[in-house]
Symmetry: C2
Subunit: 301 residues, 2 copies
């Protein structure tokens, strides 16, 4: 009989899992076990800390509801989601525009609007134009691509948070023209705090972090035969552009508001962004996360 100590128990666990029928599950769980054991040994985790950790994870699980996914939030604030996204993005980087986190506030079924429409019901601040092209990776324009846009209000809240989502506001879907061009109007969204009223927020507070995301506009872009692109544009002059709590900002997605003689709607300052979509592999989805409607976040206080 092999006597198990803090090292030999790792191989014993891997041996017990060696008959896993699904080879990918076997590979993933073997790596998970090795890393968890190594983590425990590295920090010399005490029984009291172990139980505290399990109680924390239990609280994360129990904070999840049909409209709140606290485990995704935890994964986001620990940078795990960003690592998954970056790995997934490697191919996209070669083949198209960079992606960013989907986040919990996407909604299916936002209204399809005519080009140039204002997505904010009652604009109270300076209106901006966002415009550009959607093309394939060789630069050929993609006509009739669907661009789904969603963002916070000038107060930093999504429609789901401001009015429990009664109306679809600060959202709009647009179709590119035959030249692959798009444009719409919006207000500059405000950055916001992640939900701080659950266990993930409590951790972020204990870590002395601000919990803020910089101002951004989400976009989900799809075109027949191409890789669906989940991304967002980030405003470069935001105070939190260098310290996004969920590590979603990429250099290539940072934009500036400018006077733009090329904007199709003059009289407004503008943001220009040209998207490139890679060809889809058969059966491939470019979307980060499964059905996002199940992860919508509860209205924040």
């Amino acid at each position: 009989m092999v006597d198990l100590d803090e090292f030999t128990v790792t191989n014993a666990a891997l041996e017990q899992m060696a008959n896993t029928a699904n080879p990918r599950l076997k590979q993933i769980m073997a790596a998970a076990v090795r890393h968890m054991h190594e983590f425990v040994r590295e920090v010399n985790l005490t029984p009291e800390e172990w139980i505290q950790g399990l109680q924390f994870l239990t609280a994360i699980g129990q904070a999840c509801t049909p409209i709140r996914q606290e485990f995704i939030l935890l994964s986001d604030v620990l940078g795990v989601s960003a690592v998954v996204n970056a790995l997934h993005d490697k191919k996209a980087k070669e083949l198209g525009s960079q992606s960013s986190l989907l986040g919990p506030f996407f909604r299916e079924g936002a209204p399809v609007m005519p080009m140039g429409a204002q997505i904010v019901e009652k604009p109270t601040e300076e209106e901006l134009v966002i415009h550009g092209t959607v093309s394939d990776t060789l630069g050929a324009p993609l006509a009739n691509a669907l661009i789904q846009v969603w963002q916070t209000s000038e107060r930093g809240l999504y429609d789901l948070q401001e009015r429990n989502g009664e109306s679809m506001d600060m959202r709009g879907n647009f179709r590119t023209g035959p030249d692959g061009r798009y444009h719409f109007r919006t207000l500059r969204p405000k950055g916001y705090s992640i939900p701080m009223d659950g266990p993930a927020g409590a951790l972020v507070q204990a870590q002395g972090r601000h919990g803020m995301r910089p101002s951004h506009v989400h976009m989900l872009i799809g075109a027949e035969g191409h890789r669906e692109l989940v991304t967002a544009l980030y405003f470069g002059d935001d105070d939190y552009i260098e310290s996004d709590t969920v590590f979603g900002v990429s250099q290539s997605l940072v934009v500036a508001v400018k006077d733009d003689p090329d904007s199709p709607m003059q009289g407004y300052r503008a943001v220009r962004y040209d998207f490139k979509l890679g060809k889809a592999d058969p059966g491939e989805s470019g979307r980060v996360g499964a059905d996002p409607t199940t992860f919508m976040n509860k209205a924040a206080e």
Copy 2:
């Protein structure tokens, strides 16, 4: 601006956590983040697998109730609890008997019984004697040490499972005599399956594992000024002695049933075990796990 990729995001996350006020939390979370990121990179986790993993962890959290702790069970079957226990045990090994997992079936307030009593209400099989001494690490007997014993029935079920815990059965508390000696009677307990009706059990099944623990008798031993010892004695001829699903067996805790001329109760076969307790550090608890009454496991079907 540093552009984050699947590697640089790790340092970005560690930097954001650098102001954590509690140094131990900072150390633990930094190691957790490094290992989680490395795990994701190592297996090249896809967005679909990431969401499946988070859904699994959510289900584990939501399976927890006041009488069922599925995260402890998950930690147990992945060997994480055993690593924590082994690390904690390093000191105990030098200073006293080895410990084992507390498990979810301990109950406070079992009856104190006279030495030699039978802990099973209605014994239907061969009665055994378990006897020995409790001493300090120099061999000096510890009088009036409290030995709390609990085990399954000959059917492999704890009282909490067989009759929802209506009565305290297959449990008993004993005090050592002035010579540090103890003895009591019991039946040989049966090994059993961990609860297989939740997400942790589903994982164990997907891994092609039997889910069984070998036959064992739990003991929790305390004496004034000494380290509380959570341990268990394992029957060496059990089919599962080499493949305990929760990795709780240690060589030094394996026992055999014998004819024993030194047993204080002749006419029964006996198991002998001499326990040694280390001196307690001030404020130290030797118990693995916090208040165990919150982790009691629900009655199995």
